[in-house]
């Protein structure tokens, strides 16, 4: 078994370890008359991706904290606007925004703006199907976050509470999920907590 690809940062440079590209032979494609038409091109790769200035958000959800950002530029006409999804810069004045903890706001005010129960997924999906997509609005936040519901059936206007994959986090957006307000701890998916 090949060693799984992993990356460390040493002196501000990536140091890679394990197998990043897996070589598999090409296979010919023939038509029904046994004439050559094409070839398969297998490719297994691992990308290296920087979260950059959004890293505090993804680190936050792995620890049970929901972070957004707020524009505090007194000269900006959108001053005071709070954004979730977390944005690094204000979309109007382009000043770096202040990181704010929205965990309590979410616990107290989050409700479903719209939703979709999706029976299908694409390759590489890690969520259980059907996927219950929800978009969540919060008091005082000017945007509407996309996420997924892990218990119950979604409805527009339903109050929901955030849950976090704090045990063995993946450090992806899937570490943040939601359940209807009042859901007992025992009903949370494995690895998640309030």
């Amino acid at each position: 078994m090949a060693k799984e690809a992993s990356v460390k940062i040493v002196r501000e440079r990536y140091k890679v370890n394990g197998e990043f590209s897996v070589i598999t032979p090409n296979r010919p494609i023939f038509n029904e008359a046994k004439k050559l038409c094409g070839i398969t091109n297998p490719r297994t790769m691992t990308y290296i991706h920087s979260y950059g200035g959004e890293a505090p958000f993804f680190e936050g959800i792995s620890k049970g904290i929901l972070r957004g950002t707020r524009c505090d530029n007194p000269k900006c006409e959108s001053k005071g606007s709070i954004y979730l999804p977390f944005r690094i810069f204000c979309p109007d004045c382009l000043k770096k925004m202040k990181i704010v903890d929205l965990t309590k706001t979410a616990q107290k005010t989050a409700k479903i703006h719209t939703f979709m129960v999706c029976e299908r997924s694409g390759a590489f999906n890690t969520l259980d199907k059907p996927i219950k997509f929800i978009n969540i609005e919060f008091d005082g936040v000017c945007t509407i976050l996309m996420s997924y519901l892990s218990a119950g059936e979604p409805e527009i206007g339903m109050r929901v509470a955030p849950i976090f994959r704090t045990k063995n986090p993946t450090y992806t957006i899937t570490d943040l999920s939601w359940v209807p307000v009042g859901t007992p701890k025992s009903k949370l998916p494995k690895g998640f907590s309030f």
């Binding site: 038509n31 038409c37 719209t114 129960v117 999706c118 390759a123 590489f124 997509f133 978009n135 996309m146």
Partner: protein
């Protein structure tokens, strides 16, 4: 609340008129296991040459700059695919550039070509698009499409773009459709219409004679959307050739004036902020005062139920062309029916009906070639090609196919191109015995909407017979 400056709302102006000289398309299929992409692109360009009685070499001799619409490099597994096609079309050493704006790629490609002619840089430019969506299985294809969403905030959520779009459909369905069975049936009617029109189009991938019940019984993709509500995944190519007035009239007898504009909105619907509704020429200041009363939950604009990018593309393009009311000023439209419900949303964004009343465009029969309720011509036939549901959605080519199909009506060539048994045969098909000429009689003006996914990019193209210019007609009055 987002506000726009006067400068941002300036109506775009071309430095000189630009004309569509000719256009072409390949056949569209889910897969072409025995054809390379360049073979499809050559088919499209050859058809464009034949339409104006030129050889491909003659047509190429006029082209000065090339724009190539090809959305997904990773589908075809070829970076700089534009360069490959440019070489295979024998267009070196002309300057060329690739354009990528998701589902709106075809429209954006034309937008660029028009601007280069309008600026005087070129007298004739090619806009050619294609997509190769058969080089991976469907699941992998869904993943690759989902990469057009935000890779950190959306793609990991199921790797399924339909889901990111469908939440918007759900909101529209609940607020404006009021979850009514009658609304659900109206959505299904669009699929029946577009698959039905595709039966008369030899280029089309999915001709089907189906009923509303068939659509309602098709498998659920994401409720209320079912398999037959959705557009196709296609392979194929389409092109448009544009030129300045002098060159255009030298190249062909009946060039068409092109007015084109583009709009955009956030890639992540999550980032949408509230704003006032930008009004189209046929809407009044107080038009939407009671919208919330009529449709509780519609407080946010565009919220998750409108496409600001489409509204802005129409906002600019209508004023460029002098369109006041699309239903009376235009003779046909090709809309981006990615899903039946997004088709209805678009009717409102581009002012065919006011916000909240999109369904009436279908229910009134106005969207048909022949109104099924009156037996008279429909006021504004939509997607006579079959659209994305019945004809194709080969992403980079889609917007160009739409413009080509609209132009064929304005050139009065629907029958010649779609009714030729030889063309059906060349695609390995038999012309149906009940084939109908869908020509919109006397068509002078048509519109095409090219739209990306959740509404990140939209272009609005208006083609116009230069002898029947709206602006001139209004001035004469």
């Amino acid at each position: 609340m987002i506000k726009f400056s006067k400068e941002q709302l300036k109506i775009p102006k071309l430095m000189r008129p630009v004309y569509l000289v000719t256009a072409g398309e390949s056949e569209f299929r889910r897969a072409f296991p025995e054809k390379r992409t360049e073979e499809l692109c050559v088919d499209a360009l050859t058809m464009a040459a034949e339409l104006i009685d030129m050889s491909p070499a003659e047509l190429k001799s006029y082209i000065h700059t090339c724009y190539y619409g090809h959305f997904a490099d990773h589908f075809g597994d070829q970076l700089l695919g534009e360069s490959v096609i440019h070489d295979r079309l024998g267009l070196d050493p002309l300057g060329n550039v690739g354009v990528k704006t998701g589902g709106a790629t075809g429209g954006s490609t034309l937008w660029e070509a028009v601007k280069t002619v309008a600026s005087g840089y070129s007298d004739c430019a090619l806009a050619l698009g294609w997509e190769r969506m058969d080089e991976v299985p469907t699941d992998e294809g869904n993943h690759l499409i989902s990469c057009a969403a935000d890779k950190d905030w959306e793609t990991p959520l199921g790797h399924i773009y339909t889901g990111y779009y469908a939440v918007m459909a759900q909101r529209y369905w609940k607020i404006f459709g009021k979850s009514e069975d009658s609304f659900r049936r109206t959505m299904a009617e669009i699929a029946v219409k577009n698959h039905g029109y595709a039966c008369h189009n030899p280029f089309a991938q999915s001709p089907m004679k189906i009923t509303v019940e068939d659509v309602l019984k098709s498998p659920v993709v994401a409720y209320p959307l079912r398999a037959l509500d959705a557009c196709l995944m296609s392979v194929g190519s389409a092109c448009c050739i544009v030129a300045d007035e002098k060159t255009a009239f030298k190249m062909c007898k009946k060039p068409l004036l092109v007015h084109i504009a583009a709009g955009s909105h956030t890639l992540r619907p999550a980032d949408r902020r509230d704003m006032a509704i930008p009004l189209l020429p046929n809407e009044s200041k107080n038009q939407y005062k009671d919208l919330t009363k009529k449709f509780p939950g519609s407080e946010r604009y565009p919220g998750f139920s409108g496409f600001l990018a489409a509204r802005m593309a129409a906002y600019y393009a209508y004023r460029m062309a002098g369109v006041v009311d699309p239903t009376t000023d235009l003779d046909l439209v090709e809309l981006h029916d990615a899903f039946t419900i997004s088709d209805i949303q678009t009717y409102e964004d581009i002012g065919i009906r006011p916000y909240g009343e999109g369904r009436d465009y279908v229910e009134s029969g106005d969207c048909y070639l022949t109104n099924p309720h009156t037996g008279k011509p429909g006021k504004l036939p939509a997607n006579l090609s079959g659209g994305l549901i019945g004809c194709m959605h080969a992403v980079g080519a889609t917007g160009l196919m739409q413009v080509c199909e609209v132009a064929l009506h304005l050139w009065n060539k629907h029958k010649e191109i779609h009714g030729d048994p030889k063309r059906w045969k060349s695609f390995g098909k038999t012309k149906p015995k009940d084939w109908k000429d869908l020509q919109v009689k006397g068509a002078k003006r048509g519109l095409a909407i090219s739209h990306a996914g959740v509404g990140s990019h939209v272009t609005c193209t208006i083609l116009e017979d230069p002898n029947h210019q709206l602006k001139k007609q209004r001035r004469a009055k």
